[in-house]
Symmetry: C2
Subunit: 268 residues, 2 copies
Protein backbone atom coordinates (compact mmCIF):
# COMPACT_ATOMS: atom_id res chain seq x y z
CA UNK A 1 0.00 0.00 0.00
CA UNK A 2 1.11 3.52 -0.70
CA UNK A 3 0.94 6.50 1.57
CA UNK A 4 -1.03 9.66 0.87
CA UNK A 5 -0.53 13.12 2.33
CA UNK A 6 -2.58 16.21 1.52
CA UNK A 7 -2.71 19.73 2.92
CA UNK A 8 -5.18 22.58 2.45
CA UNK A 9 -4.66 25.94 4.21
CA UNK A 10 -6.06 29.45 4.39
CA UNK A 11 -2.59 30.99 4.30
CA UNK A 12 0.56 29.77 2.52
CA UNK A 13 2.07 27.14 4.78
CA UNK A 14 5.02 24.84 4.40
CA UNK A 15 4.66 21.10 4.55
CA UNK A 16 7.99 20.50 6.30
CA UNK A 17 6.73 19.06 9.60
CA UNK A 18 4.23 16.65 8.07
CA UNK A 19 6.54 15.76 5.20
CA UNK A 20 9.33 14.87 7.64
CA UNK A 21 7.20 12.21 9.31
CA UNK A 22 5.67 11.16 6.03
CA UNK A 23 8.95 10.81 4.15
CA UNK A 24 10.37 8.46 6.81
CA UNK A 25 7.78 5.99 5.63
CA UNK A 26 9.44 5.96 2.21
CA UNK A 27 11.80 3.09 2.95
CA UNK A 28 12.77 3.67 6.59
CA UNK A 29 9.85 3.15 9.01
CA UNK A 30 7.62 1.54 6.39
CA UNK A 31 8.28 -0.40 3.18
CA UNK A 32 7.36 2.24 0.58
CA UNK A 33 10.64 2.64 -1.25
CA UNK A 34 9.39 2.70 -4.86
CA UNK A 35 9.46 6.45 -5.46
CA UNK A 36 7.66 9.49 -4.18
CA UNK A 37 6.21 12.74 -5.39
CA UNK A 38 5.09 16.09 -4.11
CA UNK A 39 2.76 18.62 -5.77
CA UNK A 40 2.45 22.24 -4.67
CA UNK A 41 -0.25 24.51 -6.02
CA UNK A 42 0.09 28.21 -6.67
CA UNK A 43 -3.35 29.36 -7.73
CA UNK A 44 -4.53 27.27 -10.69
CA UNK A 45 -0.99 26.03 -11.45
CA UNK A 46 0.92 23.28 -9.74
CA UNK A 47 4.47 22.10 -9.66
CA UNK A 48 5.29 18.47 -9.21
CA UNK A 49 8.51 17.07 -7.88
CA UNK A 50 8.76 13.40 -8.73
CA UNK A 51 11.53 11.04 -7.75
CA UNK A 52 11.53 7.33 -8.59
CA UNK A 53 14.06 6.61 -5.77
CA UNK A 54 13.21 5.93 -2.09
CA UNK A 55 12.05 9.05 -0.32
CA UNK A 56 14.09 8.55 2.85
CA UNK A 57 17.35 8.49 0.82
CA UNK A 58 16.42 11.10 -1.77
CA UNK A 59 18.56 14.28 -1.97
CA UNK A 60 15.52 16.01 -3.46
CA UNK A 61 13.40 15.09 -0.40
CA UNK A 62 16.16 16.47 1.81
CA UNK A 63 16.07 19.64 -0.28
CA UNK A 64 12.37 20.14 0.54
CA UNK A 65 12.91 19.53 4.22
CA UNK A 66 15.60 22.22 4.23
CA UNK A 67 14.07 24.65 1.68
CA UNK A 68 10.36 24.69 2.51
CA UNK A 69 7.95 25.78 -0.21
CA UNK A 70 4.86 27.58 1.05
CA UNK A 71 1.55 26.67 -0.53
CA UNK A 72 -2.18 26.61 0.18
CA UNK A 73 -2.63 23.15 -1.32
CA UNK A 74 -0.21 20.24 -1.51
CA UNK A 75 -0.46 16.54 -2.35
CA UNK A 76 2.29 14.02 -1.63
CA UNK A 77 2.58 10.31 -2.25
CA UNK A 78 5.01 7.54 -1.40
CA UNK A 79 4.78 4.48 -3.57
CA UNK A 80 4.80 0.78 -2.74
CA UNK A 81 4.32 -0.54 -6.21
CA UNK A 82 1.70 -3.08 -7.18
CA UNK A 83 1.04 -2.44 -10.91
CA UNK A 84 3.85 -1.19 -13.14
CA UNK A 85 7.62 -1.07 -12.58
CA UNK A 86 9.47 1.60 -10.63
CA UNK A 87 10.06 4.62 -12.85
CA UNK A 88 9.13 8.22 -13.45
CA UNK A 89 6.05 7.42 -15.55
CA UNK A 90 4.61 5.37 -12.67
CA UNK A 91 5.36 7.85 -9.89
CA UNK A 92 2.41 9.63 -8.26
CA UNK A 93 1.03 12.28 -8.08
CA UNK A 94 -0.22 12.47 -11.65
CA UNK A 95 -1.22 15.76 -13.23
CA UNK A 96 -3.43 16.87 -16.11
CA UNK A 97 -4.94 20.17 -17.19
CA UNK A 98 -8.74 20.42 -17.26
CA UNK A 99 -10.90 23.56 -17.61
CA UNK A 100 -7.75 25.71 -17.65
CA UNK A 101 -6.41 24.54 -14.32
CA UNK A 102 -4.09 21.88 -13.05
CA UNK A 103 -5.57 18.69 -11.50
CA UNK A 104 -3.36 16.52 -9.34
CA UNK A 105 -4.14 12.98 -8.22
CA UNK A 106 -2.60 10.37 -5.94
CA UNK A 107 -4.02 6.94 -5.13
CA UNK A 108 -3.72 4.41 -2.35
CA UNK A 109 -4.98 0.90 -3.04
CA UNK A 110 -5.12 -1.37 -6.06
CA UNK A 111 -7.72 -1.53 -8.81
CA UNK A 112 -8.23 -4.58 -11.01
CA UNK A 113 -9.17 -4.65 -14.66
CA UNK A 114 -8.68 -0.96 -15.37
CA UNK A 115 -7.82 -1.89 -18.97
CA UNK A 116 -11.59 -2.16 -19.31
CA UNK A 117 -12.07 1.57 -18.67
CA UNK A 118 -12.72 3.30 -21.97
CA UNK A 119 -10.67 6.47 -22.31
CA UNK A 120 -11.12 9.37 -24.65
CA UNK A 121 -9.63 12.72 -23.78
CA UNK A 122 -6.85 11.72 -21.34
CA UNK A 123 -4.40 8.83 -21.74
CA UNK A 124 -2.00 7.37 -19.24
CA UNK A 125 1.74 7.83 -19.83
CA UNK A 126 2.77 5.03 -17.47
CA UNK A 127 1.42 1.58 -16.63
CA UNK A 128 -0.29 2.06 -13.26
CA UNK A 129 -3.91 1.26 -12.47
CA UNK A 130 -3.91 4.64 -10.65
CA UNK A 131 -3.05 6.86 -13.60
CA UNK A 132 -5.54 5.04 -15.83
CA UNK A 133 -8.28 5.52 -13.21
CA UNK A 134 -7.38 9.22 -12.96
CA UNK A 135 -7.53 9.63 -16.76
CA UNK A 136 -10.90 7.88 -16.81
CA UNK A 137 -12.30 10.09 -14.02
CA UNK A 138 -11.20 13.32 -15.73
CA UNK A 139 -12.49 12.10 -19.07
CA UNK A 140 -15.87 11.35 -17.48
CA UNK A 141 -15.98 14.78 -15.82
CA UNK A 142 -15.16 16.48 -19.10
CA UNK A 143 -17.78 14.46 -20.92
CA UNK A 144 -20.40 15.44 -18.33
CA UNK A 145 -19.34 19.07 -17.88
CA UNK A 146 -17.83 20.94 -20.81
CA UNK A 147 -16.79 23.71 -18.38
CA UNK A 148 -16.35 23.81 -14.60
CA UNK A 149 -19.83 23.02 -13.21
CA UNK A 150 -19.24 24.66 -9.82
CA UNK A 151 -18.55 23.01 -6.46
CA UNK A 152 -21.76 21.08 -5.71
CA UNK A 153 -21.96 19.25 -9.03
CA UNK A 154 -18.23 18.65 -9.09
CA UNK A 155 -18.18 17.07 -5.62
CA UNK A 156 -21.20 14.89 -6.38
CA UNK A 157 -19.64 13.68 -9.62
CA UNK A 158 -16.27 12.87 -8.03
CA UNK A 159 -17.99 10.93 -5.22
CA UNK A 160 -20.03 9.00 -7.80
CA UNK A 161 -17.05 8.25 -10.06
CA UNK A 162 -14.99 7.20 -7.02
CA UNK A 163 -17.72 4.82 -5.99
CA UNK A 164 -17.95 3.46 -9.53
CA UNK A 165 -14.19 2.77 -9.60
CA UNK A 166 -14.37 1.07 -6.19
CA UNK A 167 -16.06 -1.85 -7.96
CA UNK A 168 -12.56 -2.71 -9.14
CA UNK A 169 -10.73 -2.58 -5.81
CA UNK A 170 -9.49 -0.26 -3.11
CA UNK A 171 -9.68 3.38 -4.08
CA UNK A 172 -8.47 5.84 -1.47
CA UNK A 173 -7.38 9.00 -3.28
CA UNK A 174 -6.52 12.67 -3.09
CA UNK A 175 -7.56 14.98 -5.92
CA UNK A 176 -6.66 18.67 -5.91
CA UNK A 177 -7.24 21.54 -8.31
CA UNK A 178 -5.67 24.46 -6.46
CA UNK A 179 -9.00 25.46 -4.98
CA UNK A 180 -10.34 22.25 -3.47
CA UNK A 181 -8.71 19.18 -2.01
CA UNK A 182 -11.00 16.16 -2.41
CA UNK A 183 -10.08 13.15 -0.29
CA UNK A 184 -11.91 9.84 -0.72
CA UNK A 185 -11.69 7.23 1.99
CA UNK A 186 -12.21 3.69 0.84
CA UNK A 187 -10.36 1.60 3.41
CA UNK A 188 -8.02 3.95 5.24
CA UNK A 189 -7.74 7.74 5.52
CA UNK A 190 -7.46 10.25 8.37
CA UNK A 191 -7.54 13.99 8.71
CA UNK A 192 -7.00 16.71 11.23
CA UNK A 193 -7.83 20.41 11.17
CA UNK A 194 -5.36 22.58 13.01
CA UNK A 195 -6.62 25.98 14.17
CA UNK A 196 -6.29 28.25 17.23
CA UNK A 197 -5.67 27.50 20.03
CA UNK A 198 -2.62 25.75 18.58
CA UNK A 199 -0.78 23.18 20.66
CA UNK A 200 2.13 20.83 20.38
CA UNK A 201 2.39 17.81 18.14
CA UNK A 202 4.92 14.98 18.01
CA UNK A 203 5.54 12.90 14.91
CA UNK A 204 4.83 9.18 15.06
CA UNK A 205 7.71 8.27 12.76
CA UNK A 206 10.45 10.58 14.01
CA UNK A 207 11.39 12.04 17.37
CA UNK A 208 10.33 15.46 16.18
CA UNK A 209 7.91 17.75 17.99
CA UNK A 210 6.57 21.15 17.03
CA UNK A 211 4.71 23.80 18.98
CA UNK A 212 2.33 25.16 16.36
CA UNK A 213 1.54 28.22 18.49
CA UNK A 214 5.11 29.40 17.80
CA UNK A 215 4.84 29.17 14.02
CA UNK A 216 1.27 30.24 13.29
CA UNK A 217 -0.97 33.31 13.43
CA UNK A 218 -4.29 33.10 15.32
CA UNK A 219 -6.36 33.08 12.13
CA UNK A 220 -4.44 30.24 10.44
CA UNK A 221 -6.25 27.06 9.60
CA UNK A 222 -4.63 24.00 8.11
CA UNK A 223 -6.24 20.69 7.15
CA UNK A 224 -3.94 17.67 6.82
CA UNK A 225 -5.11 14.37 5.32
CA UNK A 226 -3.00 11.27 5.60
CA UNK A 227 -3.33 7.52 5.17
CA UNK A 228 -2.44 7.05 8.84
CA UNK A 229 -2.17 9.68 11.60
CA UNK A 230 1.21 11.42 11.41
CA UNK A 231 1.31 12.57 15.05
CA UNK A 232 0.80 10.69 18.28
CA UNK A 233 -0.71 13.48 20.43
CA UNK A 234 -3.43 14.98 18.23
CA UNK A 235 -6.98 13.78 17.59
CA UNK A 236 -7.11 12.57 13.98
CA UNK A 237 -10.51 11.79 12.52
CA UNK A 238 -10.80 8.43 10.80
CA UNK A 239 -12.63 8.25 7.49
CA UNK A 240 -15.55 5.92 6.84
CA UNK A 241 -15.60 3.71 3.75
CA UNK A 242 -17.12 5.66 0.86
CA UNK A 243 -16.66 9.07 2.46
CA UNK A 244 -15.48 11.99 0.34
CA UNK A 245 -14.10 14.92 2.30
CA UNK A 246 -13.74 18.28 0.57
CA UNK A 247 -11.34 20.80 2.02
CA UNK A 248 -11.16 24.44 1.04
CA UNK A 249 -8.62 26.84 2.51
CA UNK A 250 -8.10 24.68 5.59
CA UNK A 251 -11.77 23.96 6.31
CA UNK A 252 -13.84 20.83 5.74
CA UNK A 253 -16.54 22.34 3.50
CA UNK A 254 -18.36 19.23 2.31
CA UNK A 255 -18.73 15.59 3.22
CA UNK A 256 -20.36 13.18 0.80
CA UNK A 257 -21.19 9.53 1.20
CA UNK A 258 -21.09 7.09 -1.66
CA UNK A 259 -21.06 3.32 -1.57
CA UNK A 260 -17.91 1.23 -1.62
CA UNK A 261 -18.72 -1.41 -4.21
CA UNK A 262 -15.89 -3.89 -3.76
CA UNK A 263 -15.72 -6.60 -1.12
CA UNK A 264 -14.55 -5.17 2.22
CA UNK A 265 -10.81 -5.23 2.87
CA UNK A 266 -9.71 -6.21 6.34
CA UNK A 267 -6.69 -4.31 7.63
CA UNK A 268 -4.68 -6.21 10.21
Amino acid sequence: MCELLGMSCNTPTDLTFSFTGFSSRGGRTAPHGDGWGLAFFEGKASRLFLDPSPCCESPLATFFRTHPIQTELAIAHIRKRTHGPVGLANTHPFCREMWGRSWVFAHNGTLQGVEGLALDRYSPIGETDSERAFCWMLGQLLREFHTDPGPAQLFEAVARLGSELSRRGVFNFLLGNGEYLLARCDSKLHHIIRRAPFGQATLNDEDVAIDFSQVTSPGDQVAVVSTAPLTRDEAWRKGEPGQLWVFHRGALVAELESPVLHEPVVHP
Copy 2:
Protein backbone atom coordinates in the same frame (compact mmCIF):
# COMPACT_ATOMS: atom_id res chain seq x y z
CA MET B 1 13.66 37.98 -24.68
CA CYS B 2 13.89 34.66 -22.91
CA GLU B 3 16.60 32.06 -23.19
CA LEU B 4 16.09 28.52 -24.45
CA LEU B 5 18.24 25.46 -23.83
CA GLY B 6 17.60 21.97 -25.14
CA MET B 7 19.58 18.75 -25.09
CA SER B 8 19.13 15.45 -26.93
CA CYS B 9 21.55 12.53 -26.38
CA ASN B 10 22.09 8.90 -27.26
CA THR B 11 23.02 8.02 -23.67
CA PRO B 12 21.76 9.52 -20.40
CA THR B 13 23.76 12.70 -19.88
CA ASP B 14 23.58 15.42 -17.28
CA LEU B 15 22.98 19.02 -18.22
CA THR B 16 25.26 20.46 -15.55
CA PHE B 17 27.88 22.12 -17.76
CA SER B 18 25.43 23.78 -20.14
CA PHE B 19 23.01 24.63 -17.35
CA THR B 20 25.78 26.37 -15.41
CA GLY B 21 26.42 28.81 -18.23
CA PHE B 22 22.74 29.09 -19.06
CA SER B 23 21.59 29.74 -15.51
CA SER B 24 24.02 32.67 -15.12
CA ARG B 25 21.86 34.41 -17.69
CA GLY B 26 18.95 34.25 -15.27
CA GLY B 27 19.63 37.59 -13.62
CA ARG B 28 23.43 37.72 -13.49
CA THR B 29 25.02 38.05 -16.95
CA ALA B 30 21.72 38.83 -18.70
CA PRO B 31 18.42 40.35 -17.56
CA HIS B 32 16.24 37.23 -17.43
CA GLY B 33 15.27 37.16 -13.77
CA ASP B 34 11.55 36.36 -14.06
CA GLY B 35 11.68 32.65 -13.32
CA TRP B 36 13.09 29.56 -14.91
CA GLY B 37 12.22 25.94 -15.53
CA LEU B 38 13.82 22.68 -16.43
CA ALA B 39 12.21 19.55 -17.89
CA PHE B 40 13.86 16.14 -17.94
CA PHE B 41 12.42 13.24 -19.86
CA GLU B 42 12.55 9.60 -18.83
CA GLY B 43 11.00 7.69 -21.72
CA LYS B 44 7.52 9.07 -22.42
CA ALA B 45 7.32 10.81 -19.04
CA SER B 46 8.87 14.09 -18.00
CA ARG B 47 9.48 15.91 -14.80
CA LEU B 48 9.42 19.65 -14.66
CA PHE B 49 11.13 21.79 -12.09
CA LEU B 50 9.68 25.29 -12.19
CA ASP B 51 10.77 28.24 -10.11
CA PRO B 52 9.30 31.72 -10.44
CA SER B 53 12.38 33.28 -8.80
CA PRO B 54 15.60 34.34 -10.61
CA CYS B 55 17.64 31.35 -11.71
CA CYS B 56 21.02 32.70 -10.59
CA GLU B 57 19.76 33.05 -6.98
CA SER B 58 17.57 29.94 -6.87
CA PRO B 59 18.45 27.24 -4.31
CA LEU B 60 16.68 24.76 -6.61
CA ALA B 61 18.97 25.73 -9.52
CA THR B 62 21.95 25.22 -7.21
CA PHE B 63 20.51 21.81 -6.32
CA PHE B 64 20.59 20.76 -10.00
CA ARG B 65 24.11 22.01 -10.48
CA THR B 66 25.21 19.88 -7.51
CA HIS B 67 22.88 16.86 -7.99
CA PRO B 68 22.90 16.27 -11.74
CA ILE B 69 19.99 14.36 -13.22
CA GLN B 70 20.86 12.24 -16.23
CA THR B 71 18.47 12.27 -19.15
CA GLU B 72 18.35 11.73 -22.92
CA LEU B 73 16.16 14.81 -23.50
CA ALA B 74 15.95 18.05 -21.55
CA ILE B 75 14.42 21.47 -22.13
CA ALA B 76 15.22 24.54 -20.04
CA HIS B 77 14.00 28.10 -20.14
CA ILE B 78 14.81 31.37 -18.42
CA ARG B 79 12.12 33.99 -18.56
CA LYS B 80 12.23 37.70 -19.26
CA ARG B 81 8.57 38.40 -19.08
CA THR B 82 6.59 40.23 -21.74
CA HIS B 83 3.01 38.93 -21.40
CA GLY B 84 1.70 37.90 -17.97
CA PRO B 85 3.05 38.57 -14.46
CA VAL B 86 5.82 36.60 -12.76
CA GLY B 87 4.38 33.45 -11.22
CA LEU B 88 4.27 29.69 -11.44
CA ALA B 89 1.44 29.60 -14.00
CA ASN B 90 3.52 31.75 -16.38
CA THR B 91 6.81 29.88 -15.97
CA HIS B 92 8.08 27.83 -18.93
CA PRO B 93 8.44 25.03 -19.91
CA PHE B 94 4.78 24.09 -20.23
CA CYS B 95 3.65 20.50 -20.31
CA ARG B 96 0.62 18.57 -21.57
CA GLU B 97 -0.11 14.93 -22.27
CA MET B 98 -0.96 13.98 -25.86
CA TRP B 99 -1.17 10.47 -27.39
CA GLY B 100 -0.15 8.97 -24.05
CA ARG B 101 3.12 10.83 -23.73
CA SER B 102 4.35 14.05 -22.21
CA TRP B 103 4.93 17.09 -24.47
CA VAL B 104 7.08 19.92 -23.19
CA PHE B 105 7.31 23.38 -24.74
CA ALA B 106 9.35 26.53 -24.20
CA HIS B 107 9.19 29.73 -26.26
CA ASN B 108 11.44 32.66 -27.00
CA GLY B 109 9.85 35.73 -28.55
CA THR B 110 6.51 37.47 -28.28
CA LEU B 111 3.30 36.74 -30.14
CA GLN B 112 0.51 39.27 -30.55
CA GLY B 113 -3.21 38.64 -30.59
CA VAL B 114 -3.09 35.04 -29.37
CA GLU B 115 -6.55 35.57 -27.84
CA GLY B 116 -7.72 35.09 -31.40
CA LEU B 117 -6.51 31.48 -31.49
CA ALA B 118 -9.50 29.18 -31.05
CA LEU B 119 -8.79 26.42 -28.54
CA ASP B 120 -10.60 23.17 -27.96
CA ARG B 121 -8.76 20.32 -26.27
CA TYR B 122 -6.09 22.19 -24.35
CA SER B 123 -6.48 25.38 -22.33
CA PRO B 124 -3.84 27.62 -20.83
CA ILE B 125 -3.51 27.76 -17.04
CA GLY B 126 -1.55 31.03 -17.02
CA GLU B 127 -1.67 34.25 -19.03
CA THR B 128 1.27 33.97 -21.41
CA ASP B 129 1.11 34.19 -25.19
CA SER B 130 3.47 31.19 -25.15
CA GLU B 131 1.25 28.74 -23.28
CA ARG B 132 -1.75 29.72 -25.39
CA ALA B 133 0.25 29.14 -28.58
CA PHE B 134 1.37 25.74 -27.24
CA CYS B 135 -2.22 24.76 -26.41
CA TRP B 136 -3.32 25.82 -29.87
CA MET B 137 -0.53 23.84 -31.58
CA LEU B 138 -1.32 20.65 -29.63
CA GLY B 139 -5.04 21.10 -30.24
CA GLN B 140 -4.37 21.43 -33.99
CA LEU B 141 -2.16 18.32 -33.98
CA LEU B 142 -4.82 16.34 -32.14
CA ARG B 143 -7.50 17.55 -34.52
CA GLU B 144 -5.39 16.50 -37.51
CA PHE B 145 -4.07 13.22 -36.08
CA HIS B 146 -6.19 11.24 -33.65
CA THR B 147 -3.13 9.13 -32.83
CA ASP B 148 0.60 9.68 -33.31
CA PRO B 149 1.04 10.00 -37.11
CA GLY B 150 4.74 9.03 -37.09
CA PRO B 151 7.80 11.23 -37.52
CA ALA B 152 7.46 12.62 -41.05
CA GLN B 153 3.90 13.88 -40.71
CA LEU B 154 4.53 15.15 -37.19
CA PHE B 155 7.57 17.20 -38.22
CA GLU B 156 5.80 18.64 -41.26
CA ALA B 157 2.78 19.64 -39.16
CA VAL B 158 4.88 21.28 -36.43
CA ALA B 159 6.83 23.26 -39.05
CA ARG B 160 3.57 24.37 -40.66
CA LEU B 161 1.90 25.32 -37.35
CA GLY B 162 5.05 27.18 -36.27
CA SER B 163 5.02 29.14 -39.49
CA GLU B 164 1.32 29.89 -39.04
CA LEU B 165 1.93 31.25 -35.52
CA SER B 166 4.85 33.37 -36.77
CA ARG B 167 2.24 35.64 -38.38
CA ARG B 168 1.72 36.95 -34.86
CA GLY B 169 5.33 37.67 -33.91
CA VAL B 170 8.60 36.02 -33.03
CA PHE B 171 8.31 32.29 -32.46
CA ASN B 172 11.53 30.51 -31.58
CA PHE B 173 10.63 27.38 -29.63
CA LEU B 174 11.68 24.00 -28.31
CA LEU B 175 9.18 21.15 -28.28
CA GLY B 176 10.06 17.73 -26.88
CA ASN B 177 8.15 14.49 -26.44
CA GLY B 178 10.82 12.21 -24.95
CA GLU B 179 11.71 10.85 -28.37
CA TYR B 180 12.28 13.94 -30.49
CA LEU B 181 13.45 17.44 -29.72
CA LEU B 182 12.03 19.89 -32.25
CA ALA B 183 13.69 23.30 -32.34
CA ARG B 184 12.26 26.10 -34.45
CA CYS B 185 14.42 29.08 -35.29
CA ASP B 186 12.54 32.26 -36.02
CA SER B 187 15.02 35.00 -35.17
CA LYS B 188 17.71 33.42 -33.03
CA LEU B 189 18.75 29.83 -32.28
CA HIS B 190 22.01 27.87 -32.34
CA HIS B 191 23.01 24.28 -31.96
CA ILE B 192 26.05 22.10 -31.65
CA ILE B 193 26.54 18.34 -31.90
CA ARG B 194 29.22 16.97 -29.65
CA ARG B 195 30.68 13.61 -30.66
CA ALA B 196 34.11 11.92 -30.77
CA PRO B 197 36.78 13.16 -30.96
CA PHE B 198 35.73 15.22 -27.93
CA GLY B 199 37.65 18.35 -27.03
CA GLN B 200 37.59 21.14 -24.53
CA ALA B 201 34.92 23.79 -24.16
CA THR B 202 34.79 26.99 -22.14
CA LEU B 203 31.56 28.67 -21.08
CA ASN B 204 30.85 32.17 -22.33
CA ASP B 205 29.09 33.23 -19.16
CA GLU B 206 31.32 31.69 -16.49
CA ASP B 207 35.02 30.95 -16.20
CA VAL B 208 34.28 27.26 -16.42
CA ALA B 209 35.93 24.85 -18.85
CA ILE B 210 35.37 21.16 -19.40
CA ASP B 211 37.32 18.53 -21.29
CA PHE B 212 34.56 16.37 -22.73
CA SER B 213 37.01 13.57 -23.56
CA GLN B 214 37.33 12.98 -19.81
CA VAL B 215 33.60 12.59 -19.18
CA THR B 216 32.35 10.77 -22.28
CA SER B 217 32.57 7.42 -24.00
CA PRO B 218 33.64 7.25 -27.68
CA GLY B 219 30.11 6.46 -28.88
CA ASP B 220 28.39 9.32 -27.05
CA GLN B 221 26.59 11.94 -29.06
CA VAL B 222 24.94 15.01 -27.57
CA ALA B 223 23.06 17.77 -29.36
CA VAL B 224 22.66 21.08 -27.51
CA VAL B 225 20.36 23.86 -28.76
CA SER B 226 20.50 27.30 -27.25
CA THR B 227 19.32 30.82 -28.00
CA ALA B 228 22.94 31.97 -28.10
CA PRO B 229 26.13 29.88 -28.13
CA LEU B 230 27.01 28.80 -24.61
CA THR B 231 30.72 28.23 -25.23
CA ARG B 232 33.38 30.43 -26.76
CA ASP B 233 35.63 27.77 -28.30
CA GLU B 234 33.21 25.48 -30.18
CA ALA B 235 31.62 25.90 -33.60
CA TRP B 236 27.89 26.51 -33.04
CA ARG B 237 25.63 26.42 -36.05
CA LYS B 238 23.28 29.38 -36.39
CA GLY B 239 19.67 28.73 -37.37
CA GLU B 240 18.00 30.36 -40.35
CA PRO B 241 14.60 32.04 -39.98
CA GLY B 242 11.87 29.44 -40.42
CA GLN B 243 14.15 26.45 -39.91
CA LEU B 244 12.92 23.52 -37.83
CA TRP B 245 15.65 21.21 -36.56
CA VAL B 246 14.68 17.76 -35.31
CA PHE B 247 17.07 15.96 -32.98
CA HIS B 248 16.84 12.31 -32.04
CA ARG B 249 19.24 10.67 -29.62
CA GLY B 250 21.90 13.33 -30.17
CA ALA B 251 21.67 13.46 -33.98
CA LEU B 252 20.08 16.02 -36.28
CA VAL B 253 17.65 13.73 -38.12
CA ALA B 254 15.54 16.25 -40.01
CA GLU B 255 15.66 19.86 -41.12
CA LEU B 256 12.53 21.53 -42.44
CA GLU B 257 12.05 24.99 -43.86
CA SER B 258 8.86 26.95 -43.42
CA PRO B 259 8.26 30.63 -43.99
CA VAL B 260 8.49 33.24 -41.24
CA LEU B 261 5.35 35.26 -41.77
CA HIS B 262 5.95 38.26 -39.52
CA GLU B 263 8.03 41.29 -40.42
CA PRO B 264 11.73 40.57 -39.89
CA VAL B 265 13.17 41.42 -36.48
CA VAL B 266 16.59 43.02 -36.43
CA HIS B 267 18.82 41.89 -33.59
CA PRO B 268 21.47 44.39 -32.52
